[in-house]
């Protein structure tokens, strides 16, 4: 096999292409961002409406939405697993980042379930939304994710000054800024790059 030669400039281009490929992979996988983003958004706004407008006692039942979310994610994950391509070094880093975030959400839920779900639970989640998206943005050098992470932290602090009922709305706004909008932007950027 003939050996291909690279100049240092081309080597740097190779690294840039690794970032671009990971962005494309991430864009392909943005369905997870959108799925969980919209589920959380619907959960937060739905709970707000049920609790404060309709005064429904079992307003927390809206979070049962998570169950189909888990089933769909597992189905998509299994489908993806079968056609997995080679990952880049940055793709690998993203994998560990989101694996870590997934476990953290689970551990946080376990902690908060003993604290009680009717206490100040939303600010803690908003804090983690910001953490995952900010680091993703830096890894992928994609500013909307970085900005989304910063927005989430600002909302994490601001939400602490409001009561439980309004914290839900902060969580909805944070998920919109840190997951949903950047995921759509990543998709549209990827589509325009392909064109």
């Amino acid at each position: 096999m003939e050996q291909e030669n690279f100049s240092p400039h081309e080597s740097l281009q190779l690294i840039q292409s690794m970032i671009a490929k990971t962005r494309r992979d991430m864009s392909d996988n943005s369905i997870y961002f959108l799925l969980w983003g919209w589920i959380t958004f619907a959960g937060c706004t739905g709970q707000f409406v049920l609790k404060n407008i309709l005064h429904y006692e079992k307003h927390y039942l809206v979070w049962l939405l998570v169950i189909p979310g888990v089933i769909i994610s597992m189905y998509l994950g299994m489908k993806e697993g079968k056609k997995r391509e080679a990952t880049t070094y940055i793709g690998d880093s993203m994998k560990y980042l989101w694996m870590g975030m997934g476990i953290s959400y689970f551990v946080l839920s376990a902690i908060l379930s003993t604290m009680g779900w009717d206490t100040n639970v939303f600010p803690f989640f908003i804090l983690l939304y910001g953490l995952g998206t900010f680091i993703s943005g830096k890894l992928l050098q994609f500013k909307p994710l970085v900005f989304g992470g910063l927005c989430a932290w600002a909302m994490a602090i601001a939400s602490a000054f409001f009561n439980y009922d309004y914290q839900m709305l902060f969580a909805a706004a944070a998920i919109l800024a840190s997951y949903i909008i950047p995921a759509y932007m990543l998709r549209s950027k990827d589509k325009s790059a392909i064109k």
Partner: protein, 198 residues
């Protein structure tokens, strides 16, 4: 420095990338110095708190303020490291942002705990949860198993601490400092010293 005109083979190019990864490893986690400092501080502060709870003898000051002492050697290491280097890799940037993010989250969590007057057992669990995140991700990015393991230990102890008293929680916290930072730091330090001898 490689001149623009020089051509590299594909293998050499990949070697260059691996060297960059290696350099980032050396400057951030391979020396292990910062990891050891943080590990010692968390272990010492946790054990001092445990002693206060166990003996019902208060020292009269918040021992966790000692953590701020870690900032001084941290700044020193960062400045010394910056002087030595002539480039900053993508990974180094990632690590800087990862650990800065961790610091921001610790700050916000401390603010929550005072604002919400969180029960001390819960706040310990939340801190251990946060300790696990950057440790696990760093371990994953650099393929360094002791840190991956350390991150997982933090999460397991975080959940376990919900079912134990505050004295035990402090022992768990000390174990987090030991497994997430001190032991991985010692392993890295030994490797670094061995490399220097070669």
């Amino acid at each position: 420095m490689i001149e623009e005109g020089n051509k590299m083979t594909e293998q050499e190019s990949l070697k260059l990338i691996n060297e960059m990864i290696g350099k980032a490893k050396r400057s951030y986690i391979t020396t292990g110095a910062a990891s050891i400092v943080w590990g010692i501080l968390i272990v010492v502060c946790s054990l001092l708190t445990w002693y206060q709870v166990y003996t019902q003898h208060a020292f009269g000051f918040d021992v966790w303020l000692l953590v701020f002492l870690a900032v001084i050697p941290q700044i020193y290491f960062s400045i010394a490291e910056k002087k030595k280097k002539n480039f900053v890799s993508h990974d180094e940037h990632t690590m800087t942002y990862l650990w800065s993010t961790f610091a921001i989250c610790i700050f916000i969590l401390s603010f929550y705990n005072s604002k919400f007057e969180t029960d001390s057992s819960h706040s310990t669990a939340l801190f251990m949860l946060l300790y696990g995140i950057p440790t696990f991700i760093t371990g994953g990015i650099f393929k360094f198993k002791p840190m991956i393991f350390g991150g997982i230990i933090c999460w397991v102890l975080s959940v376990a601490s919900m079912y134990t008293d505050i004295a035990t929680d402090m022992l768990f916290m000390a174990a987090c400092g030991l497994f997430a930072w001190f032991i991985p730091g010692i392993i890295l330090w030994k490797k670094y010293k061995k490399q220097q001898l070669c």
